[in-house]
Amino acid sequence: MADMLLELAGITKTYPGVVALDDVSLRVMRGEVLGLIGENGAGKSTLMKILGGVAEPTAGVIRIDGRDHRALTVAGATRAGIAFVHQELNLFENLDVASNVFIGRERLRGGPLMLLDNRAQHARVAPLLERLGADFAPDTPVELLSIAQRQMVEIAKALSVDARVIIMDEPTSSLTLSETERLLRVVADLKAAGVAIIFITHRLAEIMTCADRVVVLRDGRTVGELARGELSHGAMIRLMIGRDLKSLYLPPQSEPRPGGCDIAGLVTSAFPDRSIDLSVRHGEILGLAGLVGAGRTSFARTVFGIDRRLAGEVRLDGAPVRIASPRDAIRQGIYLVPEDRKRAGLVLDMPIRENITLADLLHHARLLLIDRGSETRVARAQAASLGIKAPGVETQAVTLSGGNQQKVVLAKWLSMQPRVVIFDEPTRGIDVGAKTEIYALMRGLADRGVAIAMISSDMEEVIGVSDRIAVMHEGRISGVLDRARFSEYNVLRLAIGQALEPAETAEDMT
């Protein structure tokens, strides 16, 4: 069983200013399940893009069947038998199962008429579905299938091209427990049939069940490899963490004040069977950590009134507030700096001035007519105090850099009376200098008595900036840490749903 299918040697990938992968080596054997783990941003996705032929490595060699390649193309990767089962499924919901399996390489009949040969496609797909133990037919429309069933379609698609290596990227993140078990059985079957599987997941328990070997990535490097016998949660987490965290912490200038925002029994539509209890005090920055998909963004959207709240309540200084829309939230002084600033934070084709005053326009109007002078004054004052670098406040937001765009979003809220501000990934895609400025702005707000919740997937940021950290796992708060117990290890344990180790467990676990 030891024949090598695929080897990556010394793969390096740099983007301007960022080293995404640094001298990564990886071997995949026939019929083995290779677990690939690492924190958000460790380089897993980049590595997969290189294997899929989407990204070209800056240096290094990809060896397939003893032949060296400098880079793969998408077609080359397919020819080499590499197939993906994506995290976000790439299926056409309006087509049936067989059409999806054969998309782009349809079976034809009728010669020059190029008609689809549906019968041949169905006949070819049926045995694949049977092999996977699927409970649906080749002519079922994909829109009727559950996520787990759609995954089976993706796997069938991989098998239909005789894939030898199937890469599964977070395949179980949206599956129920029984669906997960079923998928793990399919993985075992595929392995028995000689197919190699690269299994990327945050769920270490699944790795323990199915992996023959685990490779750990951190900061774009392979930091360790564990054989089946060496696998344990502790060993894996220890390898995933351990980088030097720069100190970003700006201590509060004032004592935490009484009161704040209490969220009690909040149920979001993303996790209808979980509820969230959380408090943010005035004057503190509460970090909200967790893995991608843990439900943090839908928590923020629900508090802000974008998504429907299924249950629970939000209290501000002890008094319940009714929030059914962003308008309600804004009236209470609860603001959201959204994750996707280009789509939800800004109207890109509007000037800085109009973006800053958009949420507070009635304040700049008399008899419903806008007073541009008042707008310009406020916009200029905000641009100056936040250090927005632009030729003037009439500059279109679209021409600004990411950091300056984010400052415009902030300016919109700072020009009003914030009481609670939720930041969703406030520094994503922003250069280091602007990051530091945004941290200072957040601290300044907190010192003025604003309650701040900061969702962040960047461990350095979450540990470096927060006064307390709440960690979410699959739709609920799995624990809250105070500064004394901040560590990558603790955050990560809570993020993957493990309890803190006994010595560290304390009363504020929820």
Binding site: Y15, G17, I330, V347, M350, A359, L361, I370, G429, I430
Partner: protein, 336 residues
């Protein structure tokens, strides 16, 4: 403003060429006739423009003219209703139909194209059924003389319709370009999601555009009825929604939403009427009427797009040059 200036220039050039070929173009009678038509068509084109700025469309106004038109004539002749009341009922009728469409679009989340297309079919059918396809007109009586002289009269020789359009354009110009509602319209048209995240009630803003479009269609009905003096339910107002869309698009409204101006829409309407007039006055076979209009719109929008693309390219080059000077920002730009 650049777009509007370009359009004005085009209008002047087309007019000058036409006048050079046939000086009758500039005769008082012809100019006043055109002014009247510009007034008639401009009113509902402004309403259409508002719906286009939200990223939607209103295909129903031509049929609204027919339905409201036959009702209006009947109210005045058959029921001998006092004209102020009839006028009010017709405008309210337009507001109601617009509001109904707005409800379907914003509350039930149906596509504007489909909702207003069905409006186009339904109102036309209702008008024809109600009249059993017979033409309604004023007799030789003096029904609503006051209203007639308001709607179809002149002031110092200038058609009232044109004067009305000027007043309406000023009012709507203030609403669109100076008021809170106008800013919200552009914000919703450009990026509905960001508008929602800023606490704007996007549904209400969009609904407002359809209600205004319906209300202005009601006003236009009255003006058009007194222009033609009779309403044939199967042809009255046919294609007028397309004139309105053409005027708005020519005037700088993007069908993607978030762009446009009142002055642009008025200039677009004027250009369309000049083109119609030019076909007549230059002796071009009137069967080519639509073809000429289509060609000019096509060329106009094409030229505008090319100019915009060039401007954008220049802006992009300028910003990469700036980014190259500041390496930290350059890295940022490429990552996102």
């Amino acid at each position: 403003m650049r777009k509007e200036l370009g359009l004005l220039l085009l209008l002047v050039v087309v007019s000058a060429i036409t006048a050079a070929i046939n000086p009758l173009f500039l005769s008082g009678v012809n100019l006043l006739d055109m002014a009247n038509l510009i007034g008639l068509f401009g009113v509902f084109s402004i309403g259409e423009g508002l719906t286009i700025i939200t990223g939607g469309i209103d295909l129903s106004i031509g049929s609204m003219f027919a339905l409201l038109g036959v009702v209006f004539v009947d109210l005045l002749t058959e029921y001998q209703m006092a004209w102020p009341l009839a006028l009010l009922i017709i405008i309210a009728g337009g507001v109601l139909l617009g509001g109904l469409q707005a409800f379907l679009i914003t509350r039930l989340r149906m596509q504007p194209f489909i909702v207003t297309l069905c409006g186009l079919l339904i109102y036309r059918g209702a008008a024809r059924y109600y009249t059993t396809d017979s033409t309604r007109g004023f007799g030789y009586g003096d029904e609503a003389d006051t209203l007639r002289s308001l709607a179809a009269g002149h002031l110092y020789g200038i058609p009232n319709t044109f004067l009305f359009l000027v007043i309406l354009a000023v009012v709507m110009g203030v609403v669109l370009h100076r008021s809170v509602y106008g800013r919200y319209l552009f914000a919703v048209g450009k990026n509905e999601e960001a508008a929602r995240f800023s606490g704007i009630r996007t549904g209400l803003v969009i609904a407002g555009a359809y209600v205004l479009s319906g209300g202005l269609a009601g006003v236009s009905t009255v003006l058009l009825v007194f222009y033609t003096n009779s309403v044939s339910p199967s042809s009255f107002g046919n294609f007028y929604e397309l004139y309105a869309i053409a005027a708005a698009v020519l005037g700088g409204c993007s069908l993607r939403g978030g762009e446009g101006s009142i002055i642009g829409i008025v200039l677009g309407t004027a250009l369309l009427q000049v083109l119609q007039n030019l076909v007549n006055i230059l002796g071009i076979p009137s069967s080519l009427n639509f073809a000429v209009m289509g060609t000019v719109i096509l060329l106009g929008v094409l030229a505008d797009q090319q100019l915009q693309a060039r401007r954008k390219l220049a802006a992009a080059q300028a910003s990469t040059a700036r980014a190259a000077a500041a390496p930290a920002l350059a890295r940022q730009g490429q990552q996102t």
